[in-house]
């Protein structure tokens, strides 16, 4: 009756993921494919303590730990850093990048990349803002932003999953098209004169905590749980580790990939709402490509691998807060803007380099 037939398949790992072998155990009684892999931060049981344990393990394993220490040192030495006002400001800044980084996390874990996230954010923000300004209801405008973002994500997903195109190029051309059309629609001007109700609602403060921060908090937890505990989440990891193996073991790899990009677009739409509310306007310049670097570097600093299959939502968001802390302290220390760019670029490269050196040593 209860027949457990564990078959261990050692598959030739995908290009760069060298140290991952899939152990596939089939439980016929449950009618499900339950795959267990040996990546370090994969947990089998779903109890909360284990989840916490896994989380701490992955934190101390990731470069985040070292940089967290640096962040603490900075925060003590830099003046004005530890004021309530600055912290709230910092978290509000993190909320938009955080939402986009969550979207990117899905795509990165899938082994892909979405460079169109900021452009998508700008484009959907502009469409929503135009609706609000010319026709009315902010509620529908917010829905439009999310819908447009998701639709763009669908196109990306279709091209990557069904047409088998390279994610990097698909999203790069998508970025060019979206920025082009944003400039076209707005005549390179910003869309302002938005209804007050929109900004007031979105930036509503509960005590001292602004709504965007709360939203980010809630969504991060939901995403983390979805990724770690749901079927869909596990599929994303498996597709990221080895797409062919996942396909062979019955996971609808194409559909999973499609939904990953869809979610990435969805989160861009959410971020568009908050950014538009904060700026009280929308323009094509919201989608500057520097933001992509912020998003990718946050996710990578937070322990999400760009080679796919590794990373958590919580880690990504902590990475975002860390990157925002760096930017913030450099602002407080009056470091020139250009130097900030240089330092950020170097931080991401060194973090990834550190990570890959360690994985070389491990193998």
């Amino acid at each position: 009756m209860f027949q457990q037939a564990p078959c261990i398949i050692c598959l030739k790992p995908a290009d760069r993921v060298k140290d991952v072998y899939l152990h596939i155990s089939i439980k016929k009684s449950e009618g499900t494919w339950n795959m267990l892999d040996q990546t370090q931060n994969e947990d089998r049981n779903s109890s909360t303590t284990q989840l916490m344990l896994t989380f701490f393990k992955s934190v101390s394993n990731s470069p985040l730990f070292i940089f967290g220490v640096i962040a603490v040192v900075l925060s003590i030495t830099v003046p004005n850093f530890l004021s309530v006002r600055n912290i709230v400001n910092l978290l509000t800044q993190s909320s938009t990048i955080g939402l986009m980084a969550l979207g990117m996390t899905f795509v990165l874990i899938l082994g892909g990349l979405d460079l169109s996230i900021p452009a998508n954010m700008a484009f959907s923000g502009i469409l929503g803002a135009l609706y609000m300004r010319d026709i009315g209801s902010p509620v529908i405008a917010a829905l439009i932003m999310v819908a447009v973002g998701t639709a763009v994500g669908c196109i990306n997903g279709f091209a990557v999953a069904k047409l088998k195109m390279i994610p990097f190029i698909v999203t790069l051309s998508m970025q060019a098209i979206l920025i082009g059309s944003s400039i076209w629609i707005t005549k390179n001007d910003s869309v302002y004169n938005l209804p007050d109700a929109f900004g007031d609602t979105i930036l509503f403060r509960m005590g001292i905590v602004p709504l965007p921060v709360l939203v980010l908090f809630v969504i991060t937890i939901i995403t983390h749980i979805v990724l770690k505990l749901s079927f869909f989440g596990r599929w994303i990891y498996y597709v990221g580790i080895n797409k062919n193996a996942a396909g062979v073991s019955g996971i609808p790899a194409e559909t999973v990939t499609f939904f990953g990009y869809l979610l990435s677009g969805f989160f861009s739409g959410l971020a568009a709402i908050i950014v538009t509310a904060r700026l009280n306007s929308a323009s094509a310049s919201m989608g500057s490509e520097n933001i992509v670097l912020d998003i990718v570097s946050s996710a990578v600093v937070g322990g999400v691998s760009i080679y796919g299959g590794v990373g958590t939502a919580l880690g990504a968001v902590i990475g975002v807060i860390f990157i925002t802390v760096i930017t913030n302290t450099m602002n407080l220390l009056h470091v020139p803007y250009y130097l900030t760019l240089v330092i950020k670029g170097l931080v991401i490269i060194s973090v990834v380099g550190f990570d890959s050196l360690r994985s070389i040593r491990r193998s």
Partner: protein, 327 residues
């Protein structure tokens, strides 16, 4: 019954062949079609002056795209070319204008800076084994930051002699077209005729097999980034002399158009395939032709990204189709 199945197989084969043909040569068909449509719609399009002008506009991007092409053939990617072009040339310009360094010396400095910047990319990719995508994305931002600091984000005019060089022409033949063609042909020869070129292709084809064959893949990869850096600097130099000044937007977006041109020209992003000479040359030329044509048909410039994006999308699809058909 038997005949039917054979006919079926043959039908599948023909379909496959047609697809394969379209994937490999579709771009030339598009090129000819675009050229014909424009010539019919805009009377000023098919003139020697216009074609020379288009080639002239193409030169900087063509030189940059050659570097990207080598990197992509080697199975890596270089996104930092635009910023390398900007940084190396801003150093050169500041030396020329502020310190009065003679032009040939400044040019050497520009190229050497490009080499050094490319070497930095290569160092991170080879020694730290960071994905080239991440390294060059980081450098895209960092180099531009440094360059903006150096030029103070200002437009700096070039010395008169250099400005004259950029737009120097004999009849309607611009001199830099010759330089561009020489560079692309030299690289093409290096790629197709010399052992080094074979090594690059082999590394891009399959890294592990190349390593087993005794090809020094790490040196090859490093050298490819150096070449790309140097060519980005030279391409930026041409672009700068054409404009007559260095502006903070020099090389902005060159990585995107450059990669697009390379892919359109049939170099596969999966690595190990494609040729620089007819491919990259026509790829870059096609992008310029499309924009010039739209311009001469007085289409709104805001529509350009759609055309460019659409054509790149088709090229990418053809690329992935080609790879899938071979399997």
């Amino acid at each position: 019954m038997g005949n039917e199945s054979i006919a079926g197989i043959q039908a599948v084969r023909t379909k496959r062949n047609v697809k394969q043909f379209l994937a490999s040569y579709g771009f030339y068909i598009i090129f000819i079609l675009v050229f014909m449509i424009y010539s019919l719609r805009a009377p000023s399009f098919l003139t020697v002056t216009n074609i020379m002008n288009m080639l002239h506009t193409t030169v900087p991007l063509m030189v940059i795209a050659c570097g990207i092409g080598m990197v992509i053939i080697c199975g890596e990617i270089d996104l930092s070319v635009g910023s390398v072009a900007f940084l190396s040339n801003s150093i050169g310009t500041v030396l020329m204008v502020k310190a009065g360094v003679p032009i040939p010396l400044a040019f050497i400095v520009v190229v050497l800076t490009g080499v050094v910047l490319g070497a930095i990319n290569g160092f991170f990719v080879v020694v730290f084994r960071v994905s080239s995508l991440i390294v060059t994305l980081g450098m895209l931002i960092s180099f531009r930051g440094v360059a903006l600091q150096i030029t103070n984000s200002q437009v700096i005019g070039l010395p008169e002699a250099l400005r004259a060089f950029g737009n120097f022409r004999i009849a309607s033949f611009y001199i830099d077209i010759a330089f561009g063609l020489i560079i692309i042909l030299l690289l093409h020869t290096l790629h197709t005729k010399r052992p080094y070129g074979r090594f690059v292709t082999a590394t891009g084809n399959d890294r592990e097999i190349a390593e087993k064959l005794g090809i020094p893949i790490r040196k090859i990869k490093f050298s490819v980034f150096v070449i790309s850096g140097a060519l980005a600097a030279v391409g930026g130099f041409f672009s700068m002399t054409q404009v007559g000044a260095i502006n903070p937007l020099l090389g902005n977006g060159a990585e995107f158009t450059g990669i697009a041109a390379v892919i359109i020209g049939g170099i596969s992003l999966f690595g190990g395939e494609g040729k620089l000479f007819p491919g990259v040359f026509f790829g870059v030329f096609l992008l310029t032709v499309i924009e010039t044509g739209l311009n001469q048909m007085s289409v709104s410039p805001y529509v350009y990204p759609f055309f460019r994006g659409g054509i790149i999308f088709i090229a990418m699809y053809a690329d992935s189709l080609k790879v899938r058909l071979r399997k």
